[in-house]
């Protein structure tokens, strides 16, 4: 499996983990932007690596790194524009508590 495919699956995993009600719609946003790029043959902006082009996939904040090969585009990566942090776990039954939550609170006062 190519790295860009893995990136897209990782993006899907992220959006599913956030509890998004319709992850398909979110991913379709990315797909639509890529298809728009193909349709209008937009060359994108010059990428950070020589010979590459970057194409913003907004509103889902991802960027596709690609190279044009004639009418086709070779998409190398689909990466988030900012590092995604894992959503904070809910505190409840079956949830792993973070270390700072394990600190025992000692309240003062006479018994």
């Amino acid at each position: 499996m190519g790295l860009a495919v893995k990136d897209l699956i990782r993006a899907a995993a992220h959006i599913v983990s956030t509890g998004h009600p319709d992850p398909d719609a979110y991913l379709n946003g990315i797909r639509d932007r890529i298809e728009t790029m193909y349709a209008i043959k937009n060359p994108g902006v010059i990428g950070r690596h020589e010979g590459t082009v970057e194409w913003m996939l907004n509103p889902p904040s991802y960027v596709a790194v690609l190279k044009w090969a004639g009418p086709d585009a070779k998409i190398y990566r689909v990466l988030p524009t900012a590092r995604m942090k894992k959503p904070r776990p809910q505190i409840g039954i079956g949830c792993v508590r973070r270390p700072q939550d394990q600190r025992r609170r000692v309240s003062g006062g006479a018994s």
């Binding site: 190519g2 860009a4 495919v5 699956i9 599913v16 983990s17 298809e35 990566r77 039954i93 006062g109």
Partner: protein
């Protein structure tokens, strides 16, 4: 209260030999520089005429070096730890954001490097656009199904009861 002296004037006195030594005096939150000018003592001030406070002895020593003094005493008998100025949270926030942006840039470049290297080595695999989205759709459906199977965590009244300290028991 010793007479104030500005850095330029102190430099002149040092070069003329009127001032040979100085004292870095610890005070509340920082240090001041007192020059021994014969019978009188002069305290170093800034351009506005206010007593110049140094956050560390290092900065005070640097200032003395600028004045041309190489001999000084350090008196920390009155020194009290503290901050000269309020902490600049805006500066630390800006630095944090810049650091995060730099970290992301490095991470981004490394990811693209990995893909380009795979292509150079001939191990990269290429897929048709429609096939890719088919795979992504399948994987998403599996993840959503797994998420829906997980039990919904409801707040337990038993746990809620034990939280906090009960009064009157």
């Amino acid at each position: 209260m010793p007479h104030p002296i500005k850095l330029d004037a102190l430099r002149d006195l040092v070069s003329s030999g009127a001032v040979k030594t100085a004292t870095i005096l610890g005070e509340k939150g920082g240090f001041t520089v007192h020059a021994d000018a014969g019978s009188s003592e002069r305290v170093l001030t800034n351009r506005a005429g206010q007593v110049k406070m140094f956050a560390t002895t290092d900065t005070a020593v640097r200032e003395l070096a600028r004045a041309g003094l190489s001999s000084f005493l350090v008196d920390i008998s009155q020194y009290q730890k503290g901050l000269l100025r309020a902490p600049r949270t805006d500066v630390s926030d800006r630095a944090k954001r810049a650091s995060e942006a730099l970290e992301h840039e490095r991470w981004f470049r490394a990811k693209v490097d990995e893909a380009l290297r795979q292509e150079e080595q001939g191990v990269a695999t290429w897929h048709e656009h429609a096939d890719v989205w088919e795979d992504v759709k399948k994987a998403t459906a599996a993840m959503v199904a797994k998420r829906n199977l997980e039990p919904v965590v409801a707040s337990s009244p038993r746990i809620a009861k034990t939280r906090g300290r009960k009064k009157g028991i």
